[in-house]
Subunit: 353 residues, 2 copies
Amino acid sequence: MVAEKSPLTYKDAGVDIDAVTTALKSVGDMAKATHKDPRVLTGLGSFGALFKADFGDMKEPVLVSSTDGVGTKLMVARRMQRFHTVGADLVNHCIDDILVMGAHPLFFMDYVAAGHFEPGMVESIVSGFANACQEQGVALIGGETAEMPGLYGRGDFDLAGFIVGVVDRADVLGPERVTANDVLIGLPSTGLHTNGYSLAQKILFENAGLSPDDTLPGLEGSVGDALLATHRCYLPELGPLLKDSGLHALAHITGGGFTDNLPRVLPEGVGAVVNRDAWEVPPLFAEMARLGPVDRDEMDRTFNMGVGMILVVERSQADRVLDDLGKRGATPTLVGHLEAAERGVRYEGSREL
Amino acid sequence: MVAEKSPLTYKDAGVDIDAVTTALKSVGDMAKATHKDPRVLTGLGSFGALFKADFGDMKEPVLVSSTDGVGTKLMVARRMQRFHTVGADLVNHCIDDILVMGAHPLFFMDYVAAGHFEPGMVESIVSGFANACQEQGVALIGGETAEMPGLYGRGDFDLAGFIVGVVDRADVLGPERVTANDVLIGLPSTGLHTNGYSLAQKILFENAGLSPDDTLPGLEGSVGDALLATHRCYLPELGPLLKDSGLHALAHITGGGFTDNLPRVLPEGVGAVVNRDAWEVPPLFAEMARLGPVDRDEMDRTFNMGVGMILVVERSQADRVLDDLGKRGATPTLVGHLEAAERGVRYEGSREL
């Protein structure tokens, strides 16, 4: 006698649509709280998200888009089972990426994937997206949450974010405005932001044998806290400056550090000179260089070294811009200048870590 | 004597920036081939992608956005080491998701993540994005490629896509237009599209012990070929119909099948009646139901059952729309109608699989 096989369901394959649907309902409520902009046309259907293309008195509006992930910073979040901050990392990273083109953000969408969502995990991740969006006045208008057993290992997950902003064409920042006579003004980062986490974890956890709860000389909290510090959003400090004629370009110091990111805003025939002694490298970076050890040049090509955003400013306007930033509570530092040279970065100063 | 540790580099942590940079160069060339729309403002900087917000004579342009992944169809691609089709799946899925709002696509961005990229893998994946974008006249204007050892297992990878399109507000399709007097017209899918792959693999590979090279009764090629059939893009067939006043709504049959997707375009007090005998279910679905076994209702809540897109059309216009579609080479079928009833789907017909 052959036993009849009991019918298979989608849930048997590890996918529980109902559980995901419940999580998505609470997520939807969080997203709705970010829909204060009347251009968000909610309730008009559900397959795609609608945003009215009304850009006020802009003469030639240009949409500026970017997509990014959080990288292996997620592994630290998983290790610490702290999921509510990585969403903000991604929102802020995306805002900074379009800010450097001169754009103000309009809306954001998220992609969240995992092999299995523990109860509360999706809500925790999306609360990070929603809170950061609300803080910066960005509408969280859509997203995809995918539970994929087999594709991701248990406990593994990944995030991606997509942002769209707008800038008037005449206000687009970039290499076209930059001259060899400009100076470089740096704004502090909050930590590693979202770059260099593979190397950081190898140094701190694997080689030095530290745990996230340990601390290091000069560090206020734990190593884990320092590593999960939220990627700084520079919109509050830089938003009011975007139409300033003295501001020529902005470089977001992400993967590749100063070495790879500064050249992205330099025209041919213009090189950057960065004075390594101009600012104090935060303890986390100094300790990683010591523990690795990691060479000075490799550090500068991997990490932001405490400076997450660089303003390229007309030399004659530098004092005024520094003053302006200071008045808004920012702590800017003159970190270098441009020169007639091959496109690239030349380092000066004696700093060793 | 203590041996001096040799300095660590980012490459030691498993991340080879140079290798990824080389792959990205060829990817950049593929993307450029999709930039025929003069609204793509390339060469204007690199942190964010620029697209001119010029929507011709639209009275009240509305941006329509969507984000999605390919789901566990990626596991089939990995198993077959065939990476050039999943990008097209994602582009077409995203286009279909905004098409159902009445929107034409403008630009697309991709997110590609893996633990390690074998040589040629990124190029292969992105060629799928680029070819599908070119075919449908969509600009591939940006993307993020992340190599994350430790976060993804060796061989594992994931993709996400993000699309922005535009529709004139008066032309937005959806439940507001739908009445209990409408009929349902279906367009054939090419296969599973991008949904139900966890259950499909459990049935075919795990329970039935098939390999991707095996075949099944009624199937023309191998099981693997059938599973990797590219998600159909309905833009060529439906694009010319979007402003037709007889077309009230479109439902993209994705995760949740007819059962979950049809109600998304129904107003309160209107139910859908689907006649299961109206079309022939393709062999792949019938075989999965038999091999599972999987109940008829569970099949209809998981898979598209051979119908990937539903048009909700004014009853008096149905013949003309069917005729119109046929003239453009489509093979539409009347699959049901709407009625005054609770919002939901009621099935008719005797079809068993």
